[in-house]
Symmetry: C2
Amino acid sequence: MQLLEDRILKDGNVLGENILKVDSFLTHQVDYKLMKEMGKVFADAYKDSGITKVVTIEASGIAPAVYVAEVLDVPMIFAKKHKNITMTEGILTAEVYSFTKQVTSTVSIAGKFLSADDKVLIVDDFLANGQAAKGLIDIIQQAGSEVVGVGIVIEKSFQDGRSLLEEQGVRVTSLARIAKFENGQVVFDQADA
Amino acid sequence: MQLLEDRILKDGNVLGENILKVDSFLTHQVDYKLMKEMGKVFADAYKDSGITKVVTIEASGIAPAVYVAEVLDVPMIFAKKHKNITMTEGILTAEVYSFTKQVTSTVSIAGKFLSADDKVLIVDDFLANGQAAKGLIDIIQQAGSEVVGVGIVIEKSFQDGRSLLEEQGVRVTSLARIAKFENGQVVFDQADA
């Protein structure tokens, strides 16, 4: 997605070896216009797939996911990373290891929001090692729902998340694919949409 | 807001003495249509206030806040509840005690996203004791920005959050105000919008 790649080049900051900071438009301050455009592109890619639910994970996935849900006219569910006293029963969980934060957390979705009739599009901000998306796929499959695809805003194509998901037979649609960081600059691969 | 009150009566669940669970449309599964309508109502209430930024706190505030930002055509910022390795410098913080979770957490916003020229509308899902909103006001004022108002989806009017914020001279706009829970049912006060 050209608009996104242009924005990454303009406002993204490469930190160290492999961190891209996009806190001015995605992960902290959010540009709703860009989110809305991304929502259209994701929704268009899956418009003939019969999607019934969009699933993301708190917190940076929520803004892009709700705009995808709007265009597809379906509910959005955000998985929880933290325990909540009002979540008491019927909770589906998966353990997710974050290489960035170096902690394992329990990701959860209330089972009542997913059924065997659901066809799910996962949306998330980043794909690197694929651990978060893998955890979401695990939870969605526990509910008997079908994972149709994973929509990613920014993929680090030099890490193995994409192949991990494709090995599970899940379609991956990334709006920006980073081939490498070179002298503190982002070098893109051809994106999926 | 009639649409919201009707939805709370239809799909909200009262747990114990003072917990209202709205996980089917706001705090876990999200109804984008309702978020969009709420965004319009909040934006209309502040359309003449010269708002330049909408600020919320992860995670349940993000979906309503981004739709407010869309109507007002301004950026949305979501404050972080957890430390992040890519947030390194110029971070403004406040300590926030959650009576629900019984923990104190450090809420933060990168100072570079707020300036003395900013007029801020805070948006959050719940107002009870007002601790989260108070922390956000503290951070926004540290940046030299003006807090024009606080837009709340569901206010527990029997707790003291509203008076705490109004004592600071901040306008509070709640779309649903809960007077009390009676026999497991929600009894509303007159809402602000």
